[in-house]
């Protein structure tokens, strides 16, 4: 099987089910019994494929992990409770107090908050750079640098970076690139082929099947020598290429307890099977909506990498296979007008999420970025007259009719 959807539908880790179930059942339990003491010992040591306790592993969660692993040709996948948990676990595995990571200057608001407000007091330094050029990156890497962090398409700035170019600079210094691929997913972007060492995702978004459940994924692409990463050197001596996965499974993931609930894994496995269909529709709708907004006099600017006028169009086209994701932003006159527009919408929902089946609208400056100063918002590329539209998979005419009546009400 070569096709993404075929593999998403037919792959998995399921053993022959006692009842011949065609789908991995939902194992919504906590503990697993063993036939004898030796069998428990082997499961704890990782010498047998046994689940002992759902916080650490579970058959339904494992099925999702294996499906994603087979889709991405990765070394291994760890499913966690959310996308933020995925980022947290990866940073805790790779870095320590006194170390630094380098990040692109534009980040999802909660990721920025994690770095600045949660991890900084524990001694982690984050060096924010403009990674649209790599000269400053080469200069910024030092002996304390543990990772380079970026997003495949920044949210909500919608900037696209030359990921392969950044990965080459990182590889020369043996620094892993950690990419948040939430808005592209492995369907639009095979991060492994572009030199990314670890992909993290909020599977809550596209992958969950339309915002059914919260979840996150950590994908070890299998292309990094963990023995050259200071925090994993000891694990690499024992576990070789599996050092990252072993360190996650046997320490950080286990100890943090940010496990994916089996129910969520079940829903997300269902979502994975229709991922390609939904992304295709979402991307088609988003491009059409972006073109519609571009023609409207009420709209000052439209930002979407799918528009040929976007400075990131060519790069996005090359990296993401001719599709550009399901998010766009546009500007009106001011925040007051943005609020009036939001309140006039009927079909489009007022909610903070992206890549739902429903089209969602949000005013980022007053919501996700509300805790930041005006200077920080400016630095983070979030002006007060900007709206974010996460376009769903409804019928295009209905989405456009709603936006049209909203604009006419201004």
């Amino acid at each position: 099987m070569k096709g993404f959807s075929s593999r998403a539908i037919h792959s998995g880790s399921m053993k022959k089910d006692a009842h011949g179930a065609l789908r991995m059942p939902l194992y919504e339990n906590v503990a697993f019994e063993f036939e004898n003491a030796r069998a428990i010992q082997f499961a704890f040591e990782g010498r047998s494929l046994g689940h002992s306790y759902t916080r650490i592993s579970n058959p339904t969660v494992e099925d999702l992990e294996q499906r994603v692993r087979l889709l991405t040709d990765a070394r291994g996948v760890v499913a966690v409770s959310s996308g933020m948990a995925a980022i947290t676990e990866v940073v805790l595995v790779l870095a320590e107090a006194g170390a630094n990571i380098i990040s692109h200057k534009y980040l999802f608001g909660n990721t920025y908050s994690l770095f600045e407000h949660t991890l900084k007091p524990w001694g982690l330094a984050v060096n924010y750079l403009d990674l649209t050029e790599t000269q400053s990156l080469e200069k910024a890497i030092n002996e304390k640098t543990r990772a380079i962090f970026l997003e495949s398409i920044t949210n909500p700035q919608l900037q696209v970076l030359d990921i392969e170019r950044i990965a080459k600079v990182a590889a020369a210094a043996n620094i892993p690139v950690v990419l948040d691929g939430t808005v592209t997913t492995p369907y639009l972007f095979r991060s492994r082929d572009f030199g990314v060492a670890i992909e993290v995702l909020s599977s809550t978004k596209y992958m969950s099947g339309g915002a059914t459940t919260v979840g996150g994924l950590i994908i070890d692409n299998g292309n990094q020598d963990w023995g050259k990463c200071p925090r994993l050197q000891q694990a690499a001596q024992k576990y070789g290429p599996y050092a990252l996965l072993a360190h996650l499974r046997r320490e950080v993931h286990r100890n943090l307890g940010a496990c994916m609930a089996p129910h969520n894994a079940y829903q997300q496995s269902l979502g994975l099977e229709t991922l390609a269909l939904r992304i295709d529709r979402s991307c088609e709708n988003t491009l059409a909506v972006a073109r519609f907004l571009t023609e409207r006099r009420e709209v000052k600017t439209v930002n979407y990498p799918g528009l040929e006028a976007s400075p990131y169009h060519r790069l996005a086209k090359d990296q993401f296979g001719g599709k550009f994701g399901g998010i766009l932003t546009f500007t009106l006159t001011d925040q007051k007008e943005c609020f009036k527009f939001i309140d006039s919408l009927a079909l489009v929902r007022r909610a903070t999420n992206i890549n739902d089946n429903k089209t969602l609208i949000l005013h980022p400056a007053s919501t996700i970025f509300c805790e930041y100063t005006e200077e920080e918002k400016k630095a983070l590329g979030v002006p007060s007259n900007m709206l974010r539209l996460a376009v769903g998979i409804e019928d295009l005419d209905d989405i456009i009719d709603d936006l049209k009546q909203g604009l006419e009400a201004l």
Partner: protein, 71 residues
């Protein structure tokens, strides 16, 4: 040939034994998900059919899915 597999002594007679043979003879659960260590060194999955197991080798089958201490 005497080898140690997951801490237990095993005796195999006859022809040469590859990692793939050993996985099959031990009826290893979900072999596509197992990682194999011989004398502390991991064997690349693509070499399972060609890598020979020799006398006195210490072989470990390891999974990075479950495992680890729980409450």
């Amino acid at each position: 040939m005497i080898i140690t597999v997951n801490g237990e002594t095993q005796t195999w007679e006859g022809a040469e034994l590859t990692v793939a043979d050993l996985l099959m003879r031990n009826k290893v659960d979900k072999p596509e998900m197992v990682s194999v260590q011989i004398n502390g060194n991991f064997v690349d999955k693509k070499d399972y059919d060609s890598k020979k197991v020799t006398a006195n080798d210490e072989v470990d089958f390891l999974y990075f899915v479950g495992g680890g201490k729980a409450s």
